[in-house]
């Protein structure tokens, strides 16, 4: 599991690569918690490098979505490979998130809504 963290025009992008499961989810949770704790309110999660996600990982993003709503922050997910997209779909998570195909399209959301 590798987690990349970058900032594009004030938008924080977190890109977890590899498997997002029981073993690795605590690392992902810690990474997203740290950026939100440090004040990030415009956040993109780029799943392009993710292999799959299990419910342990879904929990992390559900908690993040609730927190961003409470903080009046903005959260966009992008780059979902088919295994990740299917699990989000089966879990009924699609309507809970703003989801874009690519990171560029995700970042554009912040420009048009600013």
């Amino acid at each position: 599991m590798q987690i990349q963290h970058s900032i594009h025009d004030g938008v924080t992008v977190i890109a977890p690569a590899g498997r997002i499961d029981t073993t690795t989810s605590p690392m992902v949770e810690e990474a997203v918690r740290r950026v939100v704790d440090s004040g990030a309110r415009d956040v993109v999660i780029n799943f392009a490098g993710a292999e799959y996600i299990s419910s342990a990982g879904l929990r992390v993003f559900l908690v993040l979505a609730k927190r961003m709503r409470d903080l009046k922050g903005r959260l966009v997910l992008c780059g979902m490979p088919e295994p990740v997209r299917q699990v989000f779909h089966l879990a009924g998570f699609m309507p809970l998130f703003l989801i874009e195909p690519s990171q560029d399209q995700a970042l554009a959301r912040f420009v048009t809504q600013a």
């Binding site: 499961d21 029981t22 392009a48 996600i53 419910s55 709503r69 088919e82 089966l90 690519s102």
Partner: protein, 154 residues
Amino acid sequence: MSAGRHAHIPIAGTAASQAAGMLDAFCAAEQLPDEVAWRLRVVLDEIVANVVAYANHGPGATMDVWFSRDDDLVKISVADDGPAFDPLARPLPNVTLPLEQRQVGGLGIALVRSLMDDVQYERTTRNILTIRKRIEPGGGDGEAGGHADPAQHS
């Protein structure tokens, strides 16, 4: 029919990664298509996490995992010695609730049921959960293995 594999795994924090390692070796040996392999990985993660969370276990407790393949049918069984616990009897989570009321409890077993062709719980002196997944002909990322993502990546 291939030879099955069996692992005896301590029920501890690293059980999920140990089981995942066994599954990786099984998927590689059987050359399972990616479409089948990722489903098995998600499902085994859910089942093992469930055992770790719910099995009433003391120090030294273990679980058993069996992997086998018979033609186009992959089978995985997980057994633990905890008190009777039928995950299939749990109510499915309501996946239509708004964000504030959404919970992850029960989502794991719901995913197991959705991602596999067959899930079976059996109580002997142990809990035994068995899942089966059929390998579709021409699987992998081809047309037979579900719809390819039409999204273009630039």
